[in-house]
Symmetry: C3
Subunit: 348 residues, 3 copies
């Protein structure tokens, strides 16, 4: 029985299974509908008007309200888990994330990942794998892409160490490389309906914003969300998978919660178009009250009418004082859950 | 940092910020889809056939099943929270609520509120604000309206007391003022599919109905619901916002739960068209098992074929004996959570 | 008041109320949308591609992705609860379940049950009722049917015992009686997108598969699911309904959870077309970590291009060793929650 079992279920890939240049087509395409949008609003205090109202989106030159950019990210990401991170020890980082096409109701998404780097650890028991993941729609258009690197266990400790390949990754996506959705026009942007009067010009580089509100998370909520994205990593669902009986909350759940909380102070940071980097600084468990603060890292103009780009640091915490990030030792403070660096589009 | 923070996040309005005659346009318009309908059925034991089945609704002269009347109310209400009740000490009452147009999938809702009354409390620290809120669709048609009054804190205790204005509000909406949805026709009403045989004529004024069933509520459920309506009041989400670490359940969650429970005995009270008044008698917390009972307060005929109007008291409790409402002292009994007075439409 | 109350609410039927030949039309028709599909993915780790992607379904000859077969079953089943199992002591079994038409977004489902057998228990206090339930769509086409028998209490212990009628039920639906959805064609089946390479020919009768993963269930989740199917059985919702204050999880929730978990090893067992039998071996309560294993019971060819039928035993457990089902005494082991016998369709 053990044999037939092993033969049928997916053991996941181990470090020695990844070869630079391999392209892995991930399973389970997904068609999105108004259901995903409604659930996103139930799971997170999401209020950005462009994603809440078809009318508002049309007023900005889009055909309808797209699926929240982070929901698209979660769907694309979720499909990669069985092939990339099932045996991952740690999710080490993100880079060069770009949203290239809005996702609309009726679109069907699938994902593929190209292995762009491998480096065995000195202990010989694991290694770091770098992949560039692309999300594609039913027309094979790439709707988003990002680089992610994870530490993966070796199964066969005798497997030879592969030639080390570490991809050159830009620390920050140049504003000129950001893809502005076709037709996007903030010339007639309705600040009243959007919820805040602050324009792109009202934000200064270095400015910090405490988003004030907090949301206490429950087991049922993060599991509903993580399943919705068809993310199968067992640590999120199986209370027996960790010695202390807790379920580790999917890092993307923290990202979406923090982004939604950032509405209060950044209501006009409407579309996420770039992910420069991100670190899940500390694990998040059920019962945590998630808070968020932001820092304006940079600003740039775009060619789209009325549209400016703003680079933001989004930090999620489990408490503590806002704007505190790292300690004297340069390590993240224990209450810091997430440190995300992204580009958003804002009316000028 | 405190300065820039204060400059960007919404502190909410305080008593002295409200002027009679002001019209406040609330933010974050919302397009509804089948997702909101499915979630409403998952969050509440909602079974009224007119809202569950497009076919049944067509049999009643409507183009499709509308969004549940209370879901429309919650969406309209939720948008008002950041402007009306963020600094509210208490939600004191409702009056003159009328549903004027059914909401269908694809409709986009927004809200606006007119300040119709203000009265500073004798303590000089807070006051009562009366607003008439309207929910509008993408065609600027008013889909519903209601009056609500809340007690709001003053920020500047030295701000002069405004001239007291207390609006004249009808205790009960005259049946002749109720808006019957165009085309509504109960002549061929299917009592079997609706779930009960009791017609409008079978209910007597003074009659009481114990709805028998009970539902125990969980933190995850009321937060999902409250977020779905984009209600941002922190007491519903932040376990650290109250000294005892509990989250206060949104009063509207109790309204929808009780209304859904009332199906058992009032399955044919299909559409809510009027809200005469309502009191959240006692707070509801997670773990409470909500029960409900109703009393027939009045009945009236309508001009729509086969359609009668019935005025109902809907009481939600956390237990105790049905039909008990107030004590000797005239105060609500501690187990009473909600006392709602509404008009519904029923087949004759 | 007691009188009027009794007169309006539904007391449910008792054993003596069922007569062989009676056809009961169940209430509350339901129109399904993308909302139900999204919620199904949030509630269960459902990943079968045919139900997740419209594009994948079209590649298999269907017009779009149908509603998950088990979601259709839950909707049809839920409507029967107020008429069949409100006073049931136990849900004894299922047989002759067949899915006859896929359910698509926009379809409206209703249910009816025919009483096909009754047998009073020797204690004179209860009896077994057999019903054949049919789910119908807006065109009055039967989308599915199944036989279920339950033990129901008598209200009037003096009511005479009815003539015993026990229907002849096939232990297993012959493969030739399975209804293959019109147009279904697995000739161009995409195994990569489906998630596994194993074809119908790769499975041997007697083979067992441990689905490895586990999901810990929460009160909020099973109540959301059970409400979504408009199943009103109070034991699932009312913490005061059972002496120990627990809520009994709807057996169908365990079926869907186990089926979804079985993706890992049976990703290509795409469509469920037959339910041969099923037993809810032990009750499931919140906090349980549900695991699943399967056994291949039989295989059969079909006339549809590239489509084979596979008969599977699906067992859900709360732990213990996989493949253990019954003890020396022939009784189910205490950790066994579900023992289901079904036919699915798989690419050859």
């Amino acid at each position: 029985m053990a044999k037939t079992t092993a033969a049928k279920t997916n053991p996941g890939r181990f470090f020695e299974d990844y070869k630079v240049g391999d392209v892995i087509a991930h399973a389970v395409p997904r068609t999105v509908s108004g259901g995903e949008r409604a659930l996103y609003h139930a799971l997170y205090p999401a209020r950005h008007a462009l994603y809440s109202s078809d009318e508002f989106a049309r007023g900005c030159g889009l055909p309808a309200a797209p699926l929240d950019d982070l929901a698209a990210f979660h769907i694309v990401f979720g499909k990669t888990v069985p092939d990339i991170s099932l045996n991952a020890v740690a999710n080490l980082g993100y880079a060069e994330g770009r949203w290239l096409l809005p996702v609309y109701e009726g679109d069907t998404l699938r994902s593929e990942s190209e292995v762009i780097g491998v480096k065995q650890n000195s202990n010989g028991k694991s290694g770091v794998v770098y992949v560039r993941t692309r999300g594609l729609n039913q027309n094979d258009d790439v709707v988003m892409e990002y680089v992610r690197w994870v530490m993966v266990r070796k199964k066969d400790l005798d497997a030879p160490a592969p030639e080390t390949v570490i991809p050159e990754l830009s620390k920050v996506i140049p504003a000129s490389d950001l893809k502005i959705p076709g037709g996007l026009d903030f010339s007639d942007y309705d600040f009243t309906l959007a919820g805040e009067a602050h324009r792109w010009g009202d934000y200064e580089v270095g400015e910090t914003i405490d988003h004030v509100d907090g949301v206490t998370v429950e087991e049922a909520e993060h599991m509903l969300a993580t399943r919705l994205w068809q993310n199968t990593a067992k640590v999120h669902f199986d209370a027996t998978a960790r010695p202390d009986g807790t379920r580790l909350i999917y890092g993307g759940h923290v990202i979406s919660m923090a982004r939604a909380l950032s509405f209060n102070g950044l209501a006009n940071a409407q579309m996420i178009v770039g992910l420069n980097g991100g670190a899940h600084a500390n694990p998040c468990l059920s019962g945590t009250t998630i808070r968020a603060w932001s820092e304006v890292l940079d600003k740039a103009d775009t060619e789209a009418p009325g549209v400016g780009a703003i680079r933001l640091r989004l930090v999620a915490t489990s408490g503590g004082a806002p704007f505190a990030l790292k300690g004297e030792d340069g390590k993240y403070l224990p209450e810091v859950l997430l440190d995300l660096d992204y580009w958003a589009l804002m009316p000028k």
